[in-house]
Symmetry: C2
């Protein structure tokens, strides 16, 4: 599988009818807090409330008819689950979503709202993988991995592509990193559409596997301790090589820094972003001396929050 | 003072360099919850986080040089205070803001951030008015009332004017009502720019003075019991006649209905609106059978919230 300028353009055309071209916000308060010119790409306003709508849709649309008819499957308790269920519904096929039985009811309701069928498993990776294998065996559905899938990566690349089209001459683009779908997609979009833009990731310090992987040159295990619960995964064997080649730097931030950045956005930009979205902004604020007066794009990855939980965290 | 099509157009040109043309959002979730086509005019993204930036700026720009040089004064603990301080700063003059000593520190900081001078008073109307009179006597500043001022009303009218320009053939436009600045401005904008659009206000049931005033034909006292703390004022002798002539209806909603609507917006539209902003949406949801399939514009008046307070309300 080769992802290049042309294939990203094709992916973009493919998914355009099904996704929002999300707006780019600017904010005097954010510029003051960072000392930069910041451009906020608001994927919190994307369908299903997160950029995941892009990759899932592109992967679904890239299947041949026969495979598509058998349905789409994944294990995910996050935004990818809803994104995949939505893609299946739009394309008139089924989705089979493996979720830990401990997943919040609201996430399950979201998936069911798109007609997704949920298979509960134990809350550990072994059970998730075993359950998914069983579901696929039974249904013949195609697994669409949340990030370790070239069609998914290509779909995620379209967010940065839009930002580069809307805002010229960015010095830096910053995104969060978990499994690396958004980050590798952004890195490829920069390579082909804005080669002078540095790609930098923000990562929770409590799950700094991408930071360590970039140092060691191989995929490191994640420790998974952070409020940024969308970013607790290690990189995949498809995302890591792209990241290793294209990404300048990973900046890690504490949960406190993440919460402060998130609060700043809610209070001053007046938009709802999830913890993971606040990570690259927290990284920029932390290292702002280095980026003084630069033009910085940030992708706010999503806006799906449990309000009580997040308000409690922010106001502690 | 006559407000007409031409004077609103002039006001709009006058303030344009200093305000945002705020975006109009649509949301599948909101359309589903209401059974209407809803267009959300997002004044929460306005300068100082509220539509008040419009009226204050128009009033300030309408003063002659000599008066302007002596400064602007008001009593307000809300968004108008910041809006007026900002207008003064932009125009290179002073602002004198009378605030109850019990006003939240964050509001005072906001005013001081724009160079406003704060005069503390006791938290009652008599003390506010006496303190303001004293300040004006001492400084020669011009009072800019938060709503009972034709220049302010004319400025507020520009929000609805923009919405009518962006979205054609609205059946209804809904806004919150407190003192009536936004409501009377919206009513005049509808009269001159979209005469087939019905103007309807949402009001907290615990402070339903506008509802009662429209019934009785005279200004009724407010009781002032609601979480929508921007809407606890009675109408003014300048706003009431316009409202009486132009506004079809006031729909009252309980605090529970306001909170549910606010929560819907935060969770599904992913934007932060204040309690007052949620009132017209709550009204639409409450009476949705009557508006089925109509095209409804709603002005979200502002997005300045105390996150701690909102958490308490949502978890009660």
């Amino acid at each position: 599988m080769k992802i290049d300028r042309h294939s990203i353009e094709q992916a973009h055309e493919r998914i355009k009818p099904y996704i929002h071209r999300t707006p780019v916000f600017t904010s005097k308060s954010i510029n003051e807090a960072t000392g930069c010119q910041v451009y906020l790409k608001c994927e919190n306003f994307q369908k299903v409330g997160a950029f995941k709508a892009r990759g899932a849709m592109n992967a679904a649309l890239s299947l041949d008819e026969e495979d598509l008819a058998k349905g789409l499957a994944t294990h995910s308790s996050g935004n990818h689950a809803q994104a995949l269920a939505r893609a299946a519904k739009i394309l008139g096929t089924k989705s089979f979503i493996v979720m830990p039985r401990t997943a919040p009811e609201i996430k399950k309701r979201g998936v069911r709202g798109y007609g997704g069928e949920i298979f509960e498993c134990e809350p550990n990776l072994a059970s998730r993988e075993a359950t998914l294998a069983e579901v696929i065996k039974k249904t013949g559905a195609t697994e669409i991995h949340p990030f370790n899938n070239y069609d998914v990566i290509e779909g995620q690349a379209t967010a940065a592509k839009e930002l580069f089209a809307d805002v010229r001459e960015l010095d830096v683009i910053m995104v969060p990193v978990g499994g690396g779908g958004m980050l590798s997609g952004t890195a490829l979009a920069a390579k082909y559409f804005s080669p002078n833009t540095k790609v930098i990731a923000g990562e929770p310090a409590g799950s700094d596997d991408a930071y360590r992987s970039l140092k060691s040159g191989k995929i490191e295990e994640a420790q998974s301790q952070s409020i940024a619960d969308g970013l607790l995964t290690r990189l995949g064997d498809k995302t890591f090589p792209i990241i290793h080649e294209q990404v300048s730097e990973v900046i890690t931030v504490t949960d406190e820094e993440i919460l402060a950045a998130m609060r700043l956005v809610w209070e001053r930009v007046k938009i709802v972003i999830e913890t993971s979205s606040a990570v690259p902004l927290a990284a920029l604020i932390k290292e702002k001396e280095r980026f003084k007066d630069q033009r910085v794009g940030i992708i706010f990855s999503g806006g799906n929050v449990d309000l009580e939980k997040v308000l409690k965290l922010m106001t502690q």
